[in-house]
């Protein structure tokens, strides 16, 4: 009898279609987001995450429609991220059916966005998405992990561990921790990074990046994650939500 580990498929959406690329490049089309969301719901997904990968203003309405159509038929929590810059952006996503909103680059540019969103909508709606990697000698960080933007292409020089602590203080409700070193490798989650973040924050951590097989998931929980997120391995049917849950159950973790 305890809280279940959450298994969360992530649907990267561009112009109303699901895409997923290795290291965020070479995007490949993997279908209709609403259809895919419904399939994951049937498979037993605990939550769904939509990431608007381009988040251009011309596609904003398309994303709002996708979220609204999904929320019409799927009664599990839905997180939407990508291009969220203001509390008004958060408001419009919540109104069309999102339960939580992912914030990334805009919070790096202006950390007060976190507190402004948390004060208005509660900290549980704000998922801070962090694209972190080991520093590459350009700018030294104390923890050795740095925050990147542009899908890992641009270094910010900000210490990733300092940043997640700061975000928690400002009112983030959850951390979506994307390891840019592990992302796309399918070699397993970045356990060292998960442990480093777990030591410093008391809000839930969603581990992301690197899952290649069902056996990769339990170690992420062992390292301190409360939830696990993956995209392409689910989309291409390499592993099902059920197989991940079976593997977690075998490792002694509670799942739904």
């Amino acid at each position: 009898m305890s809280l279940a580990i959450r298994v969360i498929p992530c649907l990267d959406v561009d112009a109303g279609r699901v895409v997923k690329g290795v290291h965020f490049e070479n995007l490949r089309d993997a279908g209709d987001p609403v259809e895919l969301a419904a399939e994951y719901y049937r498979q037993g997904a605990d939550e769904l995450t939509f990431l608007d990968v381009t988040a251009s203003s011309s596609h904003r309405q398309t994303m709002v429609d996708v979220v609204a159509r999904t929320a019409e038929q799927i009664f599990i929590p839905l997180t939407v991220g990508g291009g969220v810059r203001t509390p008004e952006d958060v408001d419009s996503l919540l109104r069309c059916g999102a339960d939580k909103v992912g914030v990334n680059t805009a919070a790096i540019n202006d950390p007060t966005l976190i507190s402004r969103v948390a004060d208005r909508f509660g900290n549980q709606v704000l998922v801070l998405s962090v694209d972190a990697r080991r520093e590459r000698g350009e700018q030294h960080t104390q923890s050795g992990f740095e925050v990147t933007t542009m899908g890992g292409r641009k270094s910010t020089g900000i210490d990733a561990i300092w940043w997640v602590k700061r975000a928690e203080e400002l009112g983030a409700g959850e951390i979506l921790l994307n390891s840019m070193d592990a992302d796309g490798t399918q070699q397993g989650f970045d356990l060292e990074m998960i442990r480093a973040v777990r030591k410093e924050v008391n809000i839930p951590i969603i581990a992301s990046g690197g899952a290649g097989k069902a056996a990769d998931f339990p170690p992420a929980i062992e390292a301190g994650a409360d939830a696990v997120l993956a995209a392409s391995i689910f989309h291409y049917g390499k592993v099902t939500i059920g197989e991940v849950k079976d593997e977690l159950r075998r490792a002694g973790y509670t799942v739904r």
């Binding site: 305890s2 809280l3 009664f75 004060d119 909508f121 549980q124 008391n202 839930p204 409360d226």
Partner: protein
């Protein structure tokens, strides 16, 4: 057709609640209109965010009056998440105390656990003879909250001229971290859940059906 009003006072992911209820073939209206909220067969009071802000918002739309008037007349009310918490006497948040509706005795306080918010699918310890939990006693429900009511004490409802008579109090509990808190409360026409039935897939739909069956 059975009618339900989801009270619209600017707090809560009301669209999800409206869709979940509409899926049960109910006539659902999202409004803060006093008359409609009073006359509907059922009233849902959603709520997310801060306790004090929700209370203030609710009062601004005369939600406190609608709820009390309905309960006085024995008409069902369901509070969800912070909509549950404000049914209690008091809420503590970041050291500040705010008055709730006082329909249930007790205080809403910060959860004591290693990881907060309590976020995800959890089991509950269902009250014996619970109407809400009928058939879903062993299911998991979706929680997302940092605060909760840790105890239930008798409330003085005479001030509000509400009399639940000898309607039994049914409390469903949940354990998280070092806290044991109220997951669901039922007494007469008053129903409340800390978790989100509208986000709890089939189990949540069944709970809402159970509530509607009391109309």
């Amino acid at each position: 057709m059975t009618s339900v009003v989801v009270f619209d006072y600017g707090f809560g992911n009301v669209r999800s609640m409206v869709r979940a209820l509409a899926n049960l073939d109910l006539d659902v209206t999202l409004t803060s209109d006093y008359r409609q909220a009073l006359e509907a067969d059922g009233l849902v009071v959603p709520g997310v965010g801060a306790f004090a802000a929700c209370m203030e918002g609710l009062k601004q739309m005369s939600g406190d009056r609608v709820i009390a008037d309905r309960l006085r007349a024995g008409r069902p009310v369901l509070g969800v998440c912070v909509g549950e918490q404000i049914m209690f006497e008091r809420g503590l948040e970041r050291g500040h105390e705010a008055a709730g509706l006082g329909l249930i005795g007790g205080t809403v306080d910060l959860l004591d656990a290693d990881v907060v918010p309590h976020m995800g699918w959890d089991t509950v310890d269902a009250a014996e003879d619970s109407v809400l939990m009928r058939g879903v006693e062993r299911e998991r429900f979706y929680f997302v909250h940092s605060y909760a009511a840790m105890d239930v004490r008798p409330a003085d409802l005479s001030r509000l001229q509400i009399d639940f008579g000898d309607a039994p109090e049914r409390v469903t509990w949940c354990d998280y971290g070092r806290s044991r808190f109220v997951a669901a409360y039922e007494r007469g026409p008053l129903f409340a859940t800390q978790f989100h039935p509208e986000k709890s897939a089939e189990a949540g739909a069944q709970l809402l059906r159970n509530w509607v069956s009391t109309f």
